[in-house]
Amino acid sequence: MFDRLFEKEVAITGVGQSEVGRPSLKSAMRLTLDASLEAIADAGLRREDIDGVAWPGDNNNGNSFSPVGPNALLSALGLKVNWYGGGYEGPGPLAGVINGAMAIAAGLCRHVLVFRTITESSARTLDKGVSALTSKTIGRDSSYFWQWYTPYNVISAISFMAMYAQRHFHDHGTRPDQLAQIALTCRRNAMLNPKAIFRSPMTLDDYFASKMISTPLRMFDCDVHCDASTAIVLSRIDAARACRQAPIRIEAIGAALYQPWSWDQISLTENAAFDVGRMMWARTDLKPKDVNAAQLYDGFSILTMFWLEGLGLCPRGESGRFVEGGARIARGGSLPLNTNGGQLSAGRTHGLGYVHEACLQLWERAGERQIAPHKVAVAAAGGGPLGGSLLLVRE
């Protein structure tokens, strides 16, 4: 369909992450600097090598969902860049990676710093409602689509996630004990991640005892707010091969949305995940069976199930049976999933955390939670109409 696949000219050369706090006592800027400087050093680069900055949030300092923008970071670090960009979401929380890769492929930059900072935990010590849909505006959000939702007391995104899950249960016979395997698998992995927020064991009984928030989703189906920053360095492939460690190539991206940008007018049991998956697999000769590890968005557990299906890692409608018992998605299984504990247990780093973990695993630097050596991983983030994916290959 396309004669040039730009992402193949780009690789990940370094990753970094601040402390993950609930809350952290560090400022949003300090967290961002910790993550950014670690990522630059991890690539074996100096700050002078960075000539672009990207992130999927506001351009300037905003709310706790977007506390530091690229303008603030490049000023604080004293960077001299040819290109920088922010802007909410695009194709999901991985939009910054895709935008940064485009800037490199377009010839604007050689090394782009991509970061994602979030301070929803400390913000919630002052106002519990801060991460709800209402937090983006004064009073109830009345922007384009939300004006059709907020009058009905749709205050949290869980209203949609719960309705998607209900319909998936109805259409495909998915059961609560199957869905529970996402939360249980994440917790088992988080127990081996020293940075994870929740590290105590969780049983199926614990899962069923957790508070029902919005049927059929329980508290343990929802991710945990944190304060953290995650950063990665993207490099042009020739420059990447001169960096410190084996480049992790971006083999293919998925960013498609063939449906309305809406939370109720889209496919309720597919969301954007199937559009994204079709696009990603059309841009590579690799197949779903080649994927060795999956880091899939778990802002809510049901979204992980959609990504398993949408990326073709299991047949459509079969995610419940695929994860049943948890063996396939365990660290020693055929498709290790969310190996750092995901957002459900490790913390809601919001998107870039999945890329960070995929890279640590590909470089065999994941410590106690390291899975078997492998070369191909997939990361995906988003829910509803938001969705982006990256197929990553270590050279």
Binding site: S159, A162, Q166, K211, S214, T215, L268
Partner: protein, 112 residues
């Protein structure tokens, strides 16, 4: 009376309203009365009081209106025990007035 945007170009309803039809891009669009009858496509019983004034439980649902496949509206189901709500349950519109705005809500309908 519930009204939904209708495109005279392709003779289809669409929601939410816009000055153009997302299907055929005709500007020949306008609100048109509908029966107010439909079925529950999916729903959730919300059990969390997100703000101090909210009383839980309440039911959030996506309704498919009878006029057209996939013509959907998000609303609340009121007037019955939340545990009675089910996918495919027939519903009919009712309205709640807030100052000069009438919000369409839905309640259980007899079998149609």
């Amino acid at each position: 009376m519930l009204q939904i945007y209708y495109c005279a170009g392709c003779r289809r309803f669409f929601h939410p309203p816009n000055p153009i039809c997302p299907n055929c891009n005709s500007f020949d669009v306008a609100p048109r009365p509908v029966s107010g009858r439909g079925r529950v496509v999916t729903f959730t019983i919300n059990r969390q009081a997100w703000t101090p004034e909210l009383v839980e439980p309440y039911v959030v649902a996506i309704i498919e209106l009878a006029e057209q496949a996939n013509l959907r509206l998000l609303s609340n189901i009121i007037g019955c025990d939340p545990s009675e709500v089910a996918i495919d349950m027939p519903v009919v519109v009712t309205f709640a007035q807030f100052e000069d705005v009438w919000i369409p809500l839905f309640e259980r309908a007899g079998d149609v």
